[in-house]
Amino acid sequence: MKLGELAPRDVADRMKGQGLDLDTGPFVVRIETPITDLVDEIRSLYHDFPADAGGGLVDFHVAVRRPAGPFGVRRWLRRQAIAYLDDIRPFEPLPIHMAVPMLESSINWCAANQTNQYVMIHAAVLERRGSALVLPGITGAGKSTLCASLAYRGWRLLSDEFALIQPADGQIAAWPRPISLKNVSIDLIRGWAPDACIGKSVPNTNKGTIAYVRPPSESVRRAVDRAIPAWVVFPTFEKGAAGRLTPLPKARAFFRLADCSFNYQALGIQGFQTLSRMISACNTFEFRYSSLDDALGLLGALPLPSPRS
């Protein structure tokens, strides 16, 4: 059953109690929270994801609560939210209106720190005709904006934050969770894709204002489909720049990719082999852009890599 098809009361009750299991694709997340605003946002952002009654194997246990402190005094002093991953608290308490970024960051934190079944790159991934475009990038490079704009114009969203590469066959698994937009990108994407469902804007985070975009239903429905990496493109947003793709030597691309990886080091030889296989099978570019139309055109016209003999 999809989360959006469950009765809102049931969802709230379950999240308040034992927690609700959300099948996000590669990972099952159990979310527990008494914060009703957060429940509403989750229902909207994860609308199309299968929700299970629980009892199975869960990958991440995430609870977002209001910090009580001794005798609950803290609740009276401040309205805050804090995430518990069992009793790990990866982040300091934040004002309660930041509960959604808190939840999303916690899920990211779990994947980055507690799993090793994939070689994980901090990158947006989109797919067209079975070929995956990997957009690694530091925060602020415009990766998420690019990701959201492509996801609503013919590309399938695999992930906004994580390229999950399977060491066994080099294919990329989809994890189509909400896309996080920051600051001016929020209105930009509202204009670009009026039919996109964008959650409440959260001001004053450490990255400025954040809003999350619900992943397109089709991408969620196809979350089990893997894609074969074809292009690795390092984007940089540059005001006023004409869209320009510059080929990047593969050795440089390799190291930049490894630098964006969460667990390249931890996986050792397996990480090296997986990434080097991927880089040699992909076309690699640097990409400067300022307009989304340019980007859509240029990235859509990327030539497929020639099959290696």
């Binding site: 194997l57 869960v58 069992d86 608290r89 990866p90 901090h122 934050e161 969460f262 397996q270």
Partner: protein, 402 residues
């Protein structure tokens, strides 16, 4: 891990929580194993799985979920994998669970490779000093190829050097590119005057912490084993210019670390070490008699008493009744023992089985005990005052509980 904001946060303190159902008398040899249950009544499945791997046959997915959750919290997933493999029951584990166990095991094994490499670097750097390098704990188990190393998750290399060589060792390491991790002047002084190790060092091009010890317990503490005894008994590793502690000493160090290190988040890992070392060495004929005598000679009978008590009760470590009797007079007063049972088991496994605040409270009490054992009262007051006034949460690495 690089720059993504959520990856930059400190790595999770690996720790745990649980409860011992009943207090049985250890010293008369009548210790019965009872399934420890959390305060909220949930059984500590992870301990059961570690103790009797065959029990895992009957686990439902929901139970596996709990076990993995507890193992993740204590950094023992890879160890669990090694135990499942050793018990030959990999086939009985559901595929999704197996995948999680295997990937974690692979990552830990990969990390062992880094540790081996770091050991060769330290060895090469210290070769001019001209003394055998004695490895401690994880690195020792790994290089000596002991079962305790299998799936053990650890990040530091620990070495033991004679106190009179400490200065030259430090200078040599600094010359060769090691640096102290950032510490205040007070912390530096703390380590140098009151601790049994140098401040932690790290090589500027690598990512493995090096701890240089001159003893296994702090010189300011209640228990002061003579490090010369340890150095004299150390055993060279075949074919390598490296040594490890003698088997009995290794067990005693493990017990001391479990009870006195203050690394409360690693209690379960330390307990598993102790269990594994004992099971490995106890087949040597006079192991037990030697162990008890050695504990007396080093003055660490109390940690051994506790260590065996907890290992036997929680992990089913085979401890002969006469060893219990021989150590009976090293036992603390009964009331203390009861309190320690509760505190130790309730802080052992983190997870849903023990209430968060209760566990924090129990950890705080153990932290106080740890400090009390570590320094005489006046020094303790001075130390805590300094920490309170300068706003540092802790100094001795390892006293960090969260």
């Amino acid at each position: 891990m690089p720059w993504a904001c959520w990856a930059r946060y400190r790595s999770p303190p690996r720790a745990a929580s649980a409860h011992l159902a009943a207090v049985s008398t250890f010293s008369d040899g009548s210790a019965r194993l009872r399934a420890p249950a959390g305060l909220m009544g949930r059984e500590l499945l992870l301990l059961r799985a570690l103790r009797e791997p065959r029990a895992m046959h009957g686990f439902a997915l929901g139970e596996w979920d709990l076990v993995l959750r507890q193992a993740r919290g204590t950094g023992t997933v890879a160890r669990l994998c090694a135990i499942v493999q050793a018990a030959g029951m990999f086939g009985a584990v559901p595929a999704r669970v197996r995948e999680r166990l295997e990937t974690e095991h692979a990552a830990v094994t990969q990390h062992h490779q880094l540790i081996r490499w770091e050991v060769t670097r330290v060895r090469r750097a210290l070769a001019p000093v001209g003394m055998p390098l004695i490895l401690l704990k994880g690195a020792a188990y790994l290089l000596a190829d002991l079962p305790a190393a299998r799936g053990r998750n650890f990040s530091d290399v620990d070495v033991l050097v004679p106190r009179d060589r400490l200065l030259v060792v430090e200078e040599t390491l600094l010359e060769q590119g090691w640096e102290f991790t950032e510490l205040t002047a007070y912390d530096q002084r703390y380590y140098r005057n009151w601790s049994h190790e140098l401040p932690p060092m790290i090589h500027k091009h690598r990512n493995v912490i090096l701890d240089v010890h001159h003893n296994i317990l702090p010189p300011t503490g209640r228990l002061r084993p003579d490090p010369r005894l340890l150095l004299e008994a150390a055993r060279p590793l075949p074919g390598l210019p490296l040594s490890v502690l003698a088997p009995g000493d290794m067990v005693l160090h493990s017990a001391c670390h479990l009870l006195q290190s203050g690394e409360l988040d690693h209690s379960l890992r330390d307990l598993i070490d102790l269990d594994s070392l004992i099971r490995h060495f106890c087949s040597e004929g006079d192991f037990w008699a030697g162990l008890v005598a050695r504990a007396g000679a080093l003055g660490v009978r109390r940690p051994l008493y506790y260590g065996l008590r907890f290992a036997e009760r929680l992990l089913g470590t085979p401890v002969p009744a006469e060893v219990g009797r021989a150590l009976a007079h090293a036992a603390p007063p009964r009331a203390v023992c009861v309190v320690m049972d509760v505190l130790f088991t309730d802080t052992l496994v983190r997870g849903p089985s023990v209430h968060y605040w209760w566990r924090r409270f129990a950890l705080a009490l153990l932290g106080i005990r740890h400090h009390w054992l570590r320094m005489p009262p006046l020094l303790l007051v001075r130390h805590l005052l300094h920490k309170a006034l300068t706003g540092h949460r802790t100094v001795a690495r390892g006293t960090e509980t969260e």
